[in-house]
């Protein structure tokens, strides 16, 4: 296994969150990336990488949300990443929170480009757990959320 400092966990819910994460792949050059998303068949988008599935609960679905927490914990135990990066949504937030507090990982939250007028709810909560928070919209940047660019 690659030494821990070079291991990244890249997490995204299905659909647009996953498509946006895939567009960031050149950023992971030189690292060993494990991907996490909702659909088992999404592993075909990253055939050379390790891949785990995670549920897709929103923050209001209590039981499903608990399952997501357990899955995230299990994935973190298995992969022990030094860095976690997510494009949302709630499952990415859970993984960031556990990874930061229990595993001491460095963490990046990238808010979806779909959040044009205000940061997502999960993106707001990510302030507590993210070493770096990025918005894809310059107008939404402030003291705690930076704008480095967009996936489109």
């Amino acid at each position: 296994m690659t030494k821990r400092s070079k291991r990244i966990l890249a997490v995204a819910s299905g659909g647009g969150h996953w498509v946006q994460l895939l567009r960031l792949r050149p950023a992971f050059e030189g690292f060993e990336v494990t991907y996490v998303s909702r659909d088992p068949s999404s592993s075909q988008d990253v055939p050379d990488a390790r891949y785990f599935t995670i549920g897709d609960a929103s923050r209001s679905q209590k039981l499903a949300f608990l399952v997501v927490i357990l899955q995230a914990f299990w994935i973190l135990l298995r992969t022990r990443p030094a860095i976690i990066i997510t494009t949302g949504a709630a499952p990415g937030l859970v993984t960031l929170a556990l990874g930061k507090t229990l595993f001491g990982a460095k963490t990046i939250w990238i808010d979806s480009i779909a959040n044009v007028e205000k940061l997502s709810g999960s993106g707001g909560l990510a302030a507590k757990f993210a070493d770096l928070r990025l918005t894809q919209w310059p107008d939404l940047a402030d003291d705690s959320v930076e704008h480095w660019g967009a996936v489109l």
């Binding site: 400092s5 070079k6 990244i8 819910s13 299905g14 659909g15 647009g16 969150h17 996953w18 498509v19 946006q20 895939l22 567009r23 960031l24 792949r25 050149p26 950023a27 992971f28 050059e29 030189g30 690292f31 659909d39 068949s41 999404s42 075909q44 988008d45 897709d56 929103s58 209001s60 030094a82 860095i83 990066i85 460095k106 990046i108 979806s112 480009i113 779909a114 959040n115 044009v116 007028e117 997502s120 709810g121 770096l132 480095w148 660019g149 967009a150 996936v151 489109l152």
Partner: protein, 164 residues
């Protein structure tokens, strides 16, 4: 073929039912394939699936001459990468179609982009489909990756942390 898709996170019966009606009235039912997610309305005139697996979805996107979708970024980016015109109808929060109204803002942002046509509601669908089917296309698909400036800066940050 027209591919109608609403993603898999939430149902979007208003779009599926409107497209089913359109397909019937336009006599285009055989030409439409719908992905309806967990929607309650089952199309009577279009072929449909709840979800499409990865391979089936790629094939369908490849073959589609037009995509009609909710204003979700997965559908939009995928259509742009295939240079396929797309008609978007945003989900509305007050209709219980999403957890927030962000698809309205997404649609306002995307309106007027090449190959993107916005149907603000179901009454506007037929006109936007007509406009989209007349779109002349563009030479190249969207690059598969984000801008190099952005990914380089992210890579530098990751490298800084891994060596720090």
């Amino acid at each position: 073929m027209i591919f109608v898709t609403v993603g898999s996170a939430f149902p979007f019966d208003r779009l599926i039912q409107s497209m089913d009606n359109w397909a019937h009235e336009a006599g285009r039912g055989d030409d439409c394939l719908a992905q309806i997610g967990r929607g309650r309305y089952k199309p009577a005139h279009m072929k449909w699936h709840e979800t499409l697996g990865h391979t089936h979805l790629s094939d369908t996107m490849q073959k589609a001459k037009l995509v009609v979708a909710h204003a979700g970024m997965g559908s939009v980016i995928t259509a742009m990468q295939h240079v396929t015109p797309i008609v978007l109808m945003p989900r509305r929060f007050e209709a219980g179609e999403h957890t927030t109204d962000h698809q309205m803002a997404t649609a306002r942002w995307l309106e007027g982009k090449p190959g993107v046509f916005i149907a603000w509601d179901e009454n506007d669908l037929a006109a936007q489909i007509k406009a989209a089917e007349g779109w002349a296309g563009s030479d190249a698909g969207l690059d598969p990756f984000a801008s190099k400036d952005f990914t380089d800066r992210l890579n530098a940050q990751l490298t800084h942390w891994s060596e720090g």
